[in-house]
Symmetry: C2
Amino acid sequence: MSTPGTPSFQPLYLQIKALMVKSLEAGEWRPGEAIPSDLELASRFSVSQGTVRRAIDALADDNLVVRRQGKGTFVATHTEETVSMPRFLRIRRDDGVDEHPGSRLLDVRRGKAPADVARALDLKPGEPVLVLTRVLEFGGVPVVVDEITLPAALFRGLTRAKYEAYQGSMYGFFETQFGVRMLKARERLKAIAADARTAAILGVAPGTPLLAVERVTTTYGDRPVEWRRGLSTTLHHHYLNELG
Amino acid sequence: MSTPGTPSFQPLYLQIKALMVKSLEAGEWRPGEAIPSDLELASRFSVSQGTVRRAIDALADDNLVVRRQGKGTFVATHTEETVSMPRFLRIRRDDGVDEHPGSRLLDVRRGKAPADVARALDLKPGEPVLVLTRVLEFGGVPVVVDEITLPAALFRGLTRAKYEAYQGSMYGFFETQFGVRMLKARERLKAIAADARTAAILGVAPGTPLLAVERVTTTYGDRPVEWRRGLSTTLHHHYLNELG
DNA sequence: CAGTGGTCTAGACCACATC
DNA sequence: ATGTGGTCTAGACCACTGG
């Protein structure tokens, strides 16, 4: 007799995978670094190389590690996105030019989580949060206004100056400075009319239809650690999604 | 010396996979049916069971087949989506109720491909197309207006009556009646203002911001076979996307 | 029970990167 | 030359489904 819904059987490679996730979460292997080789891990866990490989393959499918033939297996990181497109950014130029957008921070302030955000972040309403406002610019043109809400407890010491001193993507900043790794996100998209302030920032008329993207980002164990709302002009840009 | 960009080495399991894709495309195994067992395929291709399994796993990753332990491996189909959510539909109710929407066909007409659609569908401008207009309704409430453009050459004999006689999803209809299998899609999302006609259908004021979803759907070999533009109210619904 | 997919092993060999 | 990940094999055994 087994509990309904609970798998009564867990294959070895998934058990190994779970152990490795713990090592990643605990920081035994750090972002950007190489983890031990297949053979080392096989002997460490006393399983065959094939079984360890399946575990690592599963981690790679989850984007937790990256395999590089001949070099090793590396812990995935957001700090190497400075050149390429940030992994979670789906806004693209209509003309197809693949360009890394610039980020300009408008504001950092402390506040209390409103009810809906608190629910999304698994906080109690009124718990302290940080709210960052920033603009994404493609080729110098403002396209997205992001309002980013973070649980203050996880991001102690985050200031405007500290962010501006950092070179790289925002998730790279979170990862290196606060040890918070953004792993998955769930986005809800709607179309709304631009309010006056956003319209001014984006250089469009108030009332212009904007794409609203609400994102909840999670770390290990699907714990939510970021709530974000982005408003984009879609006059010369769009949100790209591939369905498989 | 090898051609740059062309892999100089193709592993066996990918060669096997390519052969199996041909069998699928040729219709040797039909949607919904079981393909031969791992062991049969291993002997047919004269490789080990492990190698055939890797090939099938790759096909399953691409959603071309579905594995069912104890039963067999089955060719993926859109005709079993009548109960669950259609695979390519990302619009959801805000309240979280997971409900299969109803589809109401407004119009079927013949026409010539305008330049932009022709480009998306790899047709010559002016080639004959079919244009279907339909409404998706969640709980009886109209939410999406879809305009669906198909190359007429691939969908000979498609009429309003024929579609209405079919029970099931639109992609199930295409698959069973015309042998056209929708495998992948690429969507571009924008926010636009509702025109008068769409506003009337959706029961919103003209000028209301709508979510515009442009989709190019492809079949084997990434050949485009459908161009579609959907306009959605996002008052009580949203477009859901998971980022991994 | 037989047949299917799923797991695991041990070992050989290949491709790639680096020194 | 060495170490890494990637492929392939042969065979054993496990879990699930259905007659």
